[in-house]
């Protein structure tokens, strides 16, 4: 059920937009109203999330480290795994965000068949699928800017020329289109095939996967099999960008379905697991330098505690103590 319900949800969303345009003629709703709403939800929702996270105090450093902390000058510190300053933190963060370093360390635990021995083996498939998926999604997104800019900057043209380097077919197949679909397919399959992963996977994990798979598939179909009028589409996007939109009738239902799934993705983004786009930058184990031995971190919710020291105690009861023959510190 956790797989089927998100799948049905995405299919219904697709049909809603496809038939909403093809049968009911709701171009303006799907082409103008929903994109604006989705963008506002995306931006406001993400900022709301970030501010909420920033309200949480971080009273101490959380150094889950895999390296030597900076200590004596003759002990070599691990600058990236256990950074003591801002530069090291930036390095560790960059490696995490750009190269998914913590996934690269992923290991699998197995009991070996030839005896009751536990073995730990490096398992890079999640890392590989994640890298392929995220990077191709980034490149696909940047490529789409050709519909959002006029004139189109040379960087975007250069990127798509590089992406279509193999010049297979007309219009050319982009390498990232293929890698993207394969990677999302793999990330879905590993959740379904592996029993452990299936057990911990929720509807919330499958929904974005199906949504992204739907977006990729509709986009691929439109480029290669079910053509649409991209000049009309660019007129629509430029109209949206200059706040003077008009949804064209020339664009097909497939295009509006693609656009609607993207809108749903944007609107859903701040509320599900996808917020890791912003959240990764606020990971306390990644973005804090391990300087606990150099800087004193004061707990922000500490309140002043009323104390009564022994010196004050002696001040108060000194005479009575003296009479009773109890030795005093002062004397």
């Amino acid at each position: 059920m956790r797989v089927v319900i998100p799948l049905i949800a995405v299919i219904i969303l697709f049909m809603l937009a496809y038939f909403g345009v093809e049968a009911a003629g709701l171009q303006t709703l799907f082409g103008v109203v929903f994109p604006y709403i989705a963008l506002v939800i995306f931006i406001v929702g993400l900022i709301y999330k970030i501010v909420r996270w920033a309200m949480v105090p971080v009273p101490f450093r959380i150094p889950t480290t895999c390296g030597q902390q900076k200590s004596f000058p003759w002990i070599k510190p691990s600058k990236l795994d256990n950074p003591s300053g801002t530069l090291g933190v930036i390095g560790r963060m960059a490696l995490e965000v750009l190269c998914f370093r913590s996934l690269f360390r992923n290991t699998r635990t197995e009991i070996q068949k030839d005896g009751p021995k536990v073995a730990y083996a490096s398992n890079k498939w999640l890392w590989l699928g994640g890298m392929a998926f995220h990077w191709s999604m980034l490149i696909v997104s940047i490529r789409h800017l050709r519909f959002f800019t006029e004139p189109v900057p040379g960087v975007i043209i250069g990127l798509q020329d590089l992406d279509g380097f193999f010049q297979v077919g007309v219009p050319v197949f982009y390498a990232t289109s293929i890698i993207f679909l394969l990677a999302v397919g793999w990330l879905f399959l590993r959740r379904v095939v592996s029993p452990q992963l299936r057990y911990i996977s929720l509807a919330n994990d499958y929904f974005p996967l199906f949504l992204i798979l739907g977006i990729g598939t509709t986009g691929f179909l439109m480029r290669h099999l079910m053509k649409t009028d991209i000049v009309a589409i660019k007129n629509l996007t430029l109209g949206l960008l200059s706040f003077n939109p008009a949804a064209p009738a020339e664009a097909s239902g497939m295009f509006y379905a693609h656009l609607f799934l993207v809108c749903v993705l944007f609107a859903y983004f701040p509320f599900g697991k996808l917020t890791h786009l912003a959240g990764v930058f606020l990971s306390p184990t990644r973005n804090l330098s391990n300087n606990s031995r150099v800087v004193r971190h004061i707990n922000p919710w500490n309140y002043p505690v009323k104390v009564h020291t022994y010196a004050e105690y002696e001040e108060e009861f000194g005479e009575k103590m003296k009479k009773a023959g109890i030795p005093l510190d002062k004397e």
Partner: protein
């Protein structure tokens, strides 16, 4: 809010990046531009219907190339109108659509499409 400076800086970077299409188009771009491919005067129809040509011209040209280069077959029978045409970019397409600049490039530049037709073909210069 803790680390307000860094959080606000991060949000500012996010806003600048996500609104890139908006400010780029408003500041440097030309949002009202409409590509206006020059249609040949005196012609009523292409080798196929207008809609088919808008959607599938690149595929048709690709089929023509394969047919001519691999099979030596130069004759194309229109599915829509039934008339016969020579499969030739220069002698058929560009006899009516005379100028690459005023026809092909208008939409191709607008949508940043860079077909490799002209790697081999020479565009006719005569007017």
């Amino acid at each position: 809010m803790y680390d307000a400076g860094k959080i606000i800086l991060g949000i500012a970077i996010f806003l600048v990046l996500i609104t890139f299409p908006f400010w780029f188009t408003l500041a440097l771009g030309n949002p009202d531009y409409q590509p206006d491919p020059e249609l040949p005067a005196g012609q009523v129809q292409c080798v196929e219907s207008k809609e088919y040509m808008i959607h599938w011209h690149m595929d048709l040209l690709n089929q023509w190339r394969d047919s001519v280069v691999r099979d030596g077959n130069r004759m194309y029978v229109s599915r829509e109108y039934g008339d016969r045409h020579e499969m030739s970019l220069t002698r058929t397409c560009m006899r009516c659509h005379e100028s690459r600049e005023r026809f092909c490039d208008r939409c191709h530049d607008y949508t940043a499409v860079d077909p490799y037709c002209w790697d081999c073909h020479v565009e006719p210069k005569g007017e």
